[in-house]
């Protein structure tokens, strides 16, 4: 079994209205050290695979096909 964490984030330059709203809220709360906030999604997947590379190959396919929208999002795969 292979466990993986997939993180999907907006591409650079794509408007992230939620991130911007959270950023503004943090400024209002006085956390002035915060210089930027961006939001994303995290997916935890367990795959019935023995081979790590094989799992990574399939995870890439899964990300491109479903978990991320390549027009607006990038993804990162971390296999445990």
């Amino acid at each position: 079994m292979v466990s993986a964490k997939v993180t999907v984030v907006f591409k650079e330059g794509v408007l992230d209205p939620q991130g911007k709203t959270i950023f503004n809220a943090l400024q209002d709360l006085g956390y002035n050290s915060v210089k930027s906030v961006s939001t994303g999604k995290v997916f935890n997947l367990d795959l019935e695979k023995d081979d790590r590379q094989d799992a990574e190959r399939e995870l890439n396919e899964i990300c491109q096909k479903l978990l991320a929208n390549p027009v607006i999002e990038d993804y990162r795969i971390e296999v445990e």
Binding site: L15, P17, L66, N69, V71, I72
Partner: protein, 234 residues
């Protein structure tokens, strides 16, 4: 001619769309179930508004893999008319039948109100019966209608005359104030390169009777019908 209206789990404008075609336009129409890979001989397939599959993951992201959408993709490639309204537009973007993607509305809120949209192109079957620059008053109802694509892709849309509607004021001026959701270039509706697949955020099926405060939406249905009756004559 015959219309088909797809029902996904979570569609909520399918009956309005069906009623607009059947009772106002007085044309043949059938519901198409998302699990059936059958368009029942439709000439025009409408993907209606709603929250297909609960909008889980991203709007339209799950619906695009349903058996009916696989058929819709084939149908579109053969030149059939596909019309996505609101959630239907979002599904067509996810399915890759139309370019670009939807982001959350700029103000992060669900917006439900009448807007003005300007007809940017009449070189297609959806708006052939209208005038260039004509202003339509049609309601929107969405959280994710902030159309986005790379600037160079938007340029391509312009070059190919694929921008069909833009948000405007009541005089037809394209202004920042008349853009309800932050859409790139005020874009409210587009079509594909071959001009047989359409996506728009406003709901024309909600503007087909005087009692609904506008009949501007009906003009789009009539334009499509006129296209098919011209074809029938030829």
């Amino acid at each position: 001619m015959k219309f088909g209206v797809v029902t996904f789990p979570g569609s909520n404008c399918d009956y309005d769309t069906y009623a607009a075609v059947r009772h106002i336009l007085s044309e043949e129409v059938e519901f198409l179930w998302h699990l059936d890979a059958d368009l029942k001989g439709s000439d025009v397939v409408i993907l209606p508004g709603g929250f297909s599959y609960g909008d889980y993951l991203r709007t339209g992201a799950i619906a695009r893999f349903s058996p009916i959408v696989k058929e819709v993709i084939k149908f579109a490639r053969e030149g059939g008319t596909v019309w996505g309204i609101c959630n239907g537009f979002q599904i067509l973007l996810e399915a890759g039948l139309l370019p670009g993607a939807m982001l959350r509305n700029k103000g992060l809120r669900f917006i439900c109100r009448y807007v003005n949209i300007r007809v940017e192109s009449v070189g297609n079957r959806l708006t052939a019966g209208l005038n260039q620059g004509q202003v339509l008053r049609i309601p929107i109802a969405h959280s994710d209608g902030n159309y986005y694509d790379y600037p160079e892709k938007i340029e391509k849309l312009k070059e190919n005359d694929q921008i069909v509607f833009r948000y405007c004021d009541s005089e037809g001026n394209i202004t920042a104030e008349s853009n309800p959701n932050g859409s790139f270039d005020n874009i409210a509706g587009i079509c594909n390169r071959d001009k047989n697949v359409f996506g728009m955020m406003p709901h024309p099926e909600r503007a087909v009777e005087n009692v609904l405060n506008s009949t501007d939406g009906l003009k789009l249905f009539e334009s499509i019908r006129a296209y098919y009756s011209r074809r029938a004559v030829v």
